[in-house]
């Protein structure tokens, strides 16, 4: 994929529950996911988020920051470029808005715009 960062699995831990990005099926069904610091429902058992930590010289680790939903927008630089052209992100007629997004290795080779998929996928960019 030409990605150059490490991956780990939180499968055997509570990590992603503790940091509010994984939810049980019951939570999804009951609308009690409490996504984004309790402000939102999330419709899937997995939600996007970023969390920051710092470690001191004694080895203590502190959670300093987390961000969810549209708070992650700024990490997607393509949107910053699209925001300076006349048509902007051009997602108004897409549902979900990120329907044009593909996995890293699944974009068409040509420069033609990809046909928006009807698969709702897992992205809920409409969540603010």
């Amino acid at each position: 994929m030409s990605w150059n960062f490490a991956w780990v699995s939180s499968n055997s831990t509570d990590f992603n529950y503790d940091y509010n990005v994984s939810f049980t099926k019951d939570q999804v069904d009951n609308g009690t996911t409490g996504y984004n610091f309790g402000t939102q429902r999330f419709p899937e058992v997995e939600g996007p988020g970023a969390s920051c930590f710092i470690k001191d010289e004694a080895g203590n680790i502190y959670h300093t920051y987390s961000s969810f939903g549209r708070g992650l927008d700024t990490m997607i630089n393509a949107y910053n470029w699209l925001d300076i052209v006349p048509k902007g992100r051009d997602e108004a007629n897409l549902m979900p808005p990120m329907a044009w997004v593909r996995h890293h290795d699944k974009y068409p080779q040509s420069t033609q715009q990809a046909t928006p998929t009807k698969d709702p996928g897992c992205c809920h960019h409409e969540i603010q």
Binding site: W7, N11, D26, I54, C122
Partner: protein, 133 residues
């Protein structure tokens, strides 16, 4: 030869001097946003921290690693929580898109010793299926 898509009709078209006047007026708003973003970043750095009390142990291609291990020789760590439940055939497209924008080379920059190591956390939940809300 491909035909360019139609542009929005009836958009206001003006002289260069009027274009420049409108742009400069808008520039003031952009400057306001830039200064606000700097101020928000400064305030973000002032937010309080909370101590991590659990000893999280993750699975990695090279075996088990702790949260502390993920720091490597750095003091700061960013984890991106990549959406990939164990019963999903593939990971989230949007998370793939986010990952496409990770500046992995920042780990090797001269300033990296005091900055961040990006590590997404790949989620899979097979052992958590019985966990209740």
């Amino acid at each position: 030869m491909a035909t360019a898509p139609a542009v929005t009709p009836n958009h206001k078209v003006v002289s260069h001097s009027d274009w420049l006047a409108a742009r400069k007026e808008f520039l003031a708003k952009e400057k306001e946003l830039t200064r606000m973003r700097d101020e928000i970043a400064r305030q973000r750095q002032q937010l309080p921290w909370e101590k991590v009390e659990k000893n999280y142990v993750f699975d990695s291609p090279s075996g088990q690693v702790t949260l502390a291990d993920l720091f490597g020789d750095k003091s700061q760590l960013i984890i991106y929580h990549f959406m990939f439940a164990p019963d999903w055939a593939e990971g989230c497209r949007g998370c793939s898109f986010v990952s496409d924008h990770v500046a992995a080379r920042c780990r090797t920059s001269p300033r990296a010793t005091s900055r961040t190591s990006p590590f997404p956390a790949l989620r899979s939940r097979s052992s958590k299926s019985s966990k209740s809300g």
